[in-house]
Symmetry: C2
Subunit: 232 residues, 2 copies
DNA sequence: GCATTTTTGTGTTGTTCGGCATAAGATTTG
DNA sequence: CAAATCTTATGCCGAACAACACAAAAATGC
């Protein structure tokens, strides 16, 4: 993790949340933020830590995960730029209940508490955006709870692959999912053991639903993958 | 479901969220709400419906659940008075992704969309309360995802009993959980089959961790119940 | 107050999936 | 570039739990 200077432009340009800000608020923001970069596999924050401010992922990819029974990891969210991370704890006035780790080299911008609160209080549009964002994430979490508990392994894995596709999109070739995860991370995302993630990915490849090239996963038969996911 | 007149006083007195409102806002609120009562087992709203306004549970107990694979039910939240229900969908500008059913005869107050938005925009304290509430619920949902997927049956059931105790409290005797659920609902809360809920409750009773009298469940050994929950 | 339906309770069987072992391949490090 | 470590891969076994069947008890409806 090392500091950088300027990323506020990126922040304002790319993320609709900040579109609602006035000139003055932008000025306030630009005087109250810090940018840091994290290498692949570096921890951005850990469970039980106090949130330092509003974190905004500018570049890179980040996994948000919780440690459960016996330290077993469950990924609860995957973040892409430009989006907030760790903001739940901040707004709930709690310590973090999950950890964040960079999947790729990433740039994170921290908006300091005081400035954030001031903007939040004087700009209702911005507050509404935060509300909408939390409400969306809560919907996602509830859907996830049901599918992770009820679907079988094949269904869970298929859903995870579709989720990764929707979150990070495809590469230029139009069918390779634009994120490279270890089998272990895929397992932690899908609530299964690494062995079973490997096994089931191989099965999907044999059935020509996907093709595998190391950590590159390409979707060969989207309809079939969706059917496996829906079936459970 | 039948209409009633006056419950705005209850709403304002008991719920800290509305403490932030000014006289004018109170006035606006009192001109823009409807109260309805629901009998036990009546549906308050269903998955895929459009939210009618901000619902506030005034009296009674309500379960919020999703239907998953093959119609299998998973309870995602239990609501007690005074608290909001169905507000996630409203704020996300989506249709409901869960259904709500009265566990007991209940009174629900609907605050109409327009008035809500107006108050939300002019009162930052109120907006902050909504943000905090959503952030809290999201934290709960994430914790739940991990425990429901990782804990074993005994751990899940123990956790559910502790959760019900924390949510609804005890009766005057100091050890009976103040909600009476069917074994089926307990199962749907704990992600297990009804058979296994019955079996495991019996086991807990035999071990003197709880005692059972029909749907009345009393906690006889809290420490032990917590240990079972923590162990997984 | 009797019949019907729902809820609770218990045993049996079968499937899914985790745990573990082992090994080959890939990547990192000194 | 060799050693060590991490990741991927595959097979086997056993435990956890769902599915099913059936019976008794309780609640509900006419």
């Amino acid at each position: 993790m090392e500091n950088q200077n300027n990323c506020i432009e990126v922040l304002v340009q790319n993320n609709s949340v900040f579109k609602t800000l006035t000139e003055d608020e932008m000025q306030l923001l630009s005087e109250n933020y810090t940018c840091s970069s994290f290498k692949k596999n570096e921890i951005i924050f850990k469970e039980a830590e106090r949130p330092s401010g509003l974190l905004c992922l500018q570049q890179g990819k980040v996994k948000i995960y919780k440690e459960g029974v016996g330290g077993r990891e469950q990924i609860v969210r995957m973040a892409k730029p430009v989006s907030f991370i760790g903001y739940r704890a901040l707004f709930a006035n709690e310590n973090h209940i999950a950890s964040a780790e960079a999947i790729e080299n990433s740039v994170v911008c921290t908006i300091h508490r005081g400035a954030l609160e001031q903007i939040l209080r004087q700009n209702p549009d911005f507050a509404m955006e935060i509300i909408r964002s939390l409400a969306n994430e809560l919907g996602f979490a509830n859907k996830r709870t049901v599918t992770l508990t009820q679907k079988h392994i094949r269904g869970r894995l298929a859903e995870s692959l579709l989720f990764l596709k929707d979150t990070y999109g495809m590469e230029e070739d139009g069918h390779t999912i634009n994120i490279y995860l270890s089998r272990e991370d895929i397992a932690h995302l899908s609530n299964m053991t690494t062995s079973n993630a490997i096994r089931t990915l191989s099965a999907f490849a044999k059935e020509e639903v996907i093709s595998i090239n190391g950590r590159r996963i390409s979707i060969k038969d989207l309809k079939k993958l969706e059917r496996i996911s829906d079936l459970g």
